[in-house]
Point group: C2
């Protein structure tokens, strides 16, 4: 997992209307912020506006969120991200949310994204320039310790379920 740089941009500040009866950010809005984190990573991978202008995009296939610590209104959020795997049409990423200026992981999201040709829409291989950047970032991230959050299954021990 990566550590946020001191100049990490603020993706969003926790909005009062994101806070629920529990006085913390509602679980529903975490993916709204993780989507913003994706946009930042997408720019690095060449998956941003120029890519979309050519008729390509990405669709989320699966997302998973681990709610690590409560978030409260007014907290400025930054993110870190890592490429966990990829093939010709798929990108497996891990994203962490942090409060600006603090390395602690407040939430972690693992996501599987598909490369899509909007002429369909249908799954389609990443164009070569994007594939090269994905490969480069995957190589750079390969030596990072795999976060404990990755590859989990949501379940209760069988003996404890009724």
């Amino acid at each position: 997992m990566l550590t946020p740089p001191p100049d990490a941009p603020v993706l969003a500040t926790v909005r009062p209307d994101w806070v629920d009866n529990n006085g913390h950010m509602n679980m529903g809005f975490y993916l709204v912020v993780f989507d913003m984190a994706c946009d930042t990573l997408w720019a690095d991978l060449g998956l941003g506006a120029p890519f979309r202008a050519r008729g390509f995009t990405t669709f989320a296939a699966e997302t998973w969120v681990n709610y690590v610590r409560e978030l409260h209104a007014g907290q400025p959020l930054t993110s870190t991200s890592e490429v966990l795997g990829h093939d010709a049409k798929r990108l497996h990423v891990g994203l962490a949310l942090h409060i600006k200026g603090n390395d602690a992981v407040m939430a972690y999201s693992e996501q599987m994204l598909l490369s899509v040709d909007m002429d369909g829409p249908r799954a389609s291989p990443f164009v070569p320039t994007v594939a090269a950047r994905v490969q480069m970032l995957a190589t750079a991230h390969r030596s990072l310790p795999r976060p404990a959050y990755v590859g989990r299954v949501i379940s209760l021990p069988a003996a404890k379920t009724a």
Copy 2:
């Protein structure tokens, strides 16, 4: 998995501001609707307003979303839900989103929720009336075929990752 009844209430209609550059509901907003689906299930389980008034609530620990089919602005959404497992302090549920009047699963969310005493807040066993309702619903749902969406791990085959 359950089939939505004809009189299933509409949780929400896909809002134009939930639609992204891809012309479909952005991945970030699915959990906003699944949270509404939880509220419906919570009322059945006795985890609604009276429970909160006594100082108890639930926190999401982990959520997972499988994006099955695209959703578009104006579509009215309903949900079905099932109890997949539970123990004294935890509830493992599966929720499906449907377009009103259609049984097709548009998205499926698996979630692990914690029973929480707001005096802390700290994890705390479900109060007896809730535990009894959870047990009753879990028993009713035990004979349902387990959805293919449940218990998945987000990953790419090792041979394909770079």
